[in-house]
Symmetry: C2
Subunit: 395 residues, 2 copies
C-alpha cells in the first residue's frame, strides 16, 4: 500500500527545486571540460595544511565542546568577525553576530523571520540563484530591479518600492555582484539605504566577495551606512566552501527571532570548525592569505579579459569587475547563451547561462564566467573554445 504523497505535501513542495547547477548535468561529463561555471577559490590555493592543523588544535580541548551549546556561535569567532567588520567600516559588536552554516543558512533564517506567503521581495536582475532557492520555500514573489555597470539603479528600486503591495525586503549582493561582478557606486549606496529607511523595507546584504577586492582600496559594506541592514558574510570564498562557516550581522530587533530560529533548525553550527577558523585566522594569517588571493584573482581576471578581447566575435560585451570571481558576458547577435550551451559543451567549455539568475529563467545573450578556479593556460584555452563555439554557432 502506498501513499498519495501529492495529497500530503505542502503547497510549497513544488517550489523546492534544485539549484541552477542542475542545468549543467548533461555537460559536466564532457571529457577535458573547461568549467567556468564554478564560484569557488582554486583547489590548489585552499589552505589545507593551515586548516588541518587548526582542526587538530580545536580537537585538543574537545571535551569542552562535544556537547550542545552556543546557538548564536562561539564567542571568540563572533568577536573576530566583529573586529573585521569594524575595520571594514561597519562597526559591529559580537552580540550582533550569529554564526551560520555558510551564508546560505543565513538566507533561510532571514526569510523565515521576514517573509509571509505572497510577500514581494525585490531582487537584483540578475541575482544569485541560491537566494531565490532559499526564499522560494517561503512562497514569496519577486520584483526585479535592474543593475548597470554601477550596480543597482536607485530610481528603478524606488519605482518598485512605491508599488502595492509594498515589498518586504531588498536582497542585494552590492559588492562584486554574483553574477555580474558589478559594485554599487558610493552615491548609489547612500541612496539605496535612504530608500530602505524611507519606505521601511529592510536591506539584506549578501557579501561573499567583499573581502576579495583586487589590490587597492577596499569597498565598505552597505552595513557601514546603517545598522538596520542585515548583513551576510562567509568563509566559503576566503577559506573553503566545505567548512560551511558563515555569519550574519543582525539588527538589534531581529536577534531573538533569528537566534531562536537557528536553535530550531539545527541547534548550533559545528563547534570544532568554529574553533578551527579562529585558530586558522589568528596572528594576521587571514589577511596575508587574502592579499595573496586578491593578487591571484586580479591576474586571472585580467587574463580572462585579455582572452575575451582576443577570442570573442566583435560586438561581444563584458563587464570588468574590481574584485570577486565573475565576468558577465553579453554575446553578440541574436543568440541566447542557453542555445549556445550545447555547442560550447561540444567544444569542451561550460558556463552558467544568464537565465539561471532570473526568477523567470528568461533566456538572454548573457552568461557568467568564473575566473577564480583555473590557471592561465586553462583560461586561455577555455575562452578560445568559447570563441570558436560562438563563431560556429553564429555560422
Amino acid at each position: 500500500m502506498t501513499f498519495s504523497w501529492n495529497q500530503v505535501v505542502a503547497g510549497r513542495a513544488s517550489k523546492l527545486a534544485p539549484s541552477a547547477f542542475s542545468d549543467l548535468e548533461g555537460i559536466r561529463s564532457v571529457e577535458d571540460l573547461i568549467f567556468f561555471a564554478g564560484g569557488t577559490p582554486p583547489l590548489e590555493k585552499l589552505p589545507i595544511a593551515r586548516l588541518r592543523q587548526a582542526s587538530a588544535d580545536a580537537w585538543e580541548d574537545a571535551a569542552d565542546h562535544l556537547y550542545y551549546g552556543e546557538s548564536q556561535g562561539h564567542e571568540p569567532l563572533r568577536h573576530m568577525i566583529a573586529e573585521r567588520m569594524t575595520s571594514r567600516g561597519a562597526t559591529t559588536d559580537p552580540e550582533h553576530v550569529m554564526i551560520t552554516n555558510g551564508s546560505q543558512q543565513g538566507l533561510d533564517l532571514i526569510a523565515r523571520t521576514l517573509f509571509d506567503p505572497g510577500d514581494v521581495v525585490v531582487i537584483e536582475g540578475p541575482t544569485y540563484f541560491g537566494a531565490m532557492q532559499a526564499f522560494d520555500a517561503y512562497e514569496v514573489t519577486y520584483r526585479t530591479a535592474p543593475v548597470d555597470d554601477d550596480g543597482l539603479i536607485p530610481d528603478e528600486l524606488e519605482r518598485l518600492l512605491r508599488e502595492h503591495p509594498r515589498p518586504k525586503a531588498i536582497y542585494t549582493v552590492p559588492t562584486f555582484q554574483n553574477p555580474t561582478g558589478v559594485t554599487i557606486s558610493p552615491e548609489r549606496r547612500r541612496r539605496v539605504v535612504e530608500l530602505s529607511l524611507e519606505y521601511t523595507v529592510p536591506i539584506i546584504e549578501d557579501d561573499p566577495y567583499g573581502e576579495l577586492h583586487f589590490p587597492g582600496d577596499p569597498v565598505p559594506p552597505l552595513r557601514a551606512l546603517d545598522s538596520n541592514v542585515i548583513y551576510l558574510g562567509t568563509f566559503s570564498k576566503t577559506l573553503a566552501p566545505a567548512l560551511r562557516m558563515g555569519w550574519m550581522v543582525m539588527p538589534e530587533a531581529l536577534i531573538p527571532p533569528l537566534v531562536n530560529s537557528k536553535e530550531a533548525v539545527d541547534i548550533q553550527s559545528d563547534r570544532f570548525v568554529q574553533r578551527a577558523v579562529v585558530r586558522a585566522c589568528a596572528d594576521g594569517w587571514l589577511d596575508a592569505h587574502l592579499d595573496e588571493a586578491r593578487a591571484l584573482y586580479q591576474e586571472r581576471c585580467q587574463r580572462m579579459i585579455a582572452a575575451l578581447q582576443r577570442e570573442m566575435p566583435p560586438g561581444t560585451r563584458w563587464i570588468t569587475p574590481q574584485g570577486g570571481f565573475f565576468v558577465w558576458v553579453t554575446l553578440t547577435g541574436e543568440i541566447t547563451s542557453n542555445a549556445l550551451l550545447p555547442t560550447a559543451g561540444k567544444h569542451g567549455v561550460a558556463y552558467l547561462p544568464g537565465s539561471a539568475f532570473y526568477p523567470d529563467r528568461r533566456k538572454e545573450p548573457t552568461l557568467r564566467l568564473g575566473f577564480s578556479t583555473l590557471p592561465d593556460d586553462k583560461i586561455d584555452e577555455g575562452i578560445h573554445r568559447l570563441g570558436r563555439a560562438t563563431a560556429e554557432f553564429l555560422g
Copy 2:
C-alpha cells in the same frame, strides 16, 4: 532612524521561541547543582580520542572535499547507515538516506515539505519540545495523542485522525520516548502504521534512542513495518551531540523535495565530520561502544529507580524505561512540577517540568529526569535532594 521591525517581520515571528531549556535559566547558576535536565551521553564517556583520530584522518585527503558537494550526504556514510538500519529490521538502501545536521534539521526539512499554515499535526502528549520548536515556524496547530506505559494509544490516535480537518502527519518518538521513556508495544506499532495508511497521514518517526536499548533484545524501528514512514536518526546520543550528524530515511516520493530543501538551507552538511564518522564507526567499533553505553545506562537507570523508591514520598509514581535516557516521574499530592522547581533549585537539583513537553505548556505533577550523564553518587545525592525538596514543599 530606526525601523518599525514589528511591521516588517513575518506572521510566524512570534512563534520563533527559544527551547524549553530557557525555562531553567534562573536555576542553572545554583552552586553545586545536580542537573537531571540534560539528554546527552555522559561527558566522561564521549569517545574523544577515537573521534579526534577519525577527524585527523578525514583531513588527510582534505583537498577532495573542501569544495561544495554531496547535498544528500557522503555515500559511504549513507551506505553504513543503510546497513545498520537494515540490520535493525528496516531494510534501507543508501539512496533513501540523507545526512542532516542532527535530527533537528530533519524535523525542519520534513515540516517544510509537508506543512502548510494551519495544518494539524498529531503529537504525543507529552512530546519532544524541539519538534514543536521546529514545526512552529510552519504555523501548524497540534492535537495531542496521549501515551500510557505501552506508548501511543491507537484508539486515541484514530479518534484524532477522524477529525476535520484531517491531520497532516503523526509525529512520534516510538522507542524510549522523550520525555516519558515509554516504548510503543509491538501490537500497537502495527495498528499505528495501519492507521497511518488507512487515513493517508504519514508517520514521522523520531528515533534518537532506539539503539540505546538496555542489554537484551533491540526494538526494530517503526520504519521496519512500512516504507512510507519518514525516519529520523542521529549520532548525537551514540557519539556526541556537537558532531551535528543525523540522518533521514525518506519515502521514495519525498527524496527530491527533501534533498532540494537541504541544498536550499545550507548546501551540505560538514563533509569532514561525515568522513570522520565513517572512520570512527568502522571495524565494529560503534557496536562495541554501544554495548558499553547500554550497560552503563541500564546501571544508572536502575540506580535512579532505586533512589526514587528510597527518597520520594509515598504516592510518587514513575515509569521504568527499557532504554534511552529518561525516567518520567509523577509527583504525589496536588503539586505541579513547575511550582516545585524553585524549591528543588534551592536544594541543588534541577529537572525539566512536564509542561515543557506540551504545546499548551500545561502545568502537571510530571517531570523528566535524565539518568545518562551522572555517576552513581550524584544520582543518589540528586534524588535525595529531590525527595527533601518535595517533602519540604508538601509541608
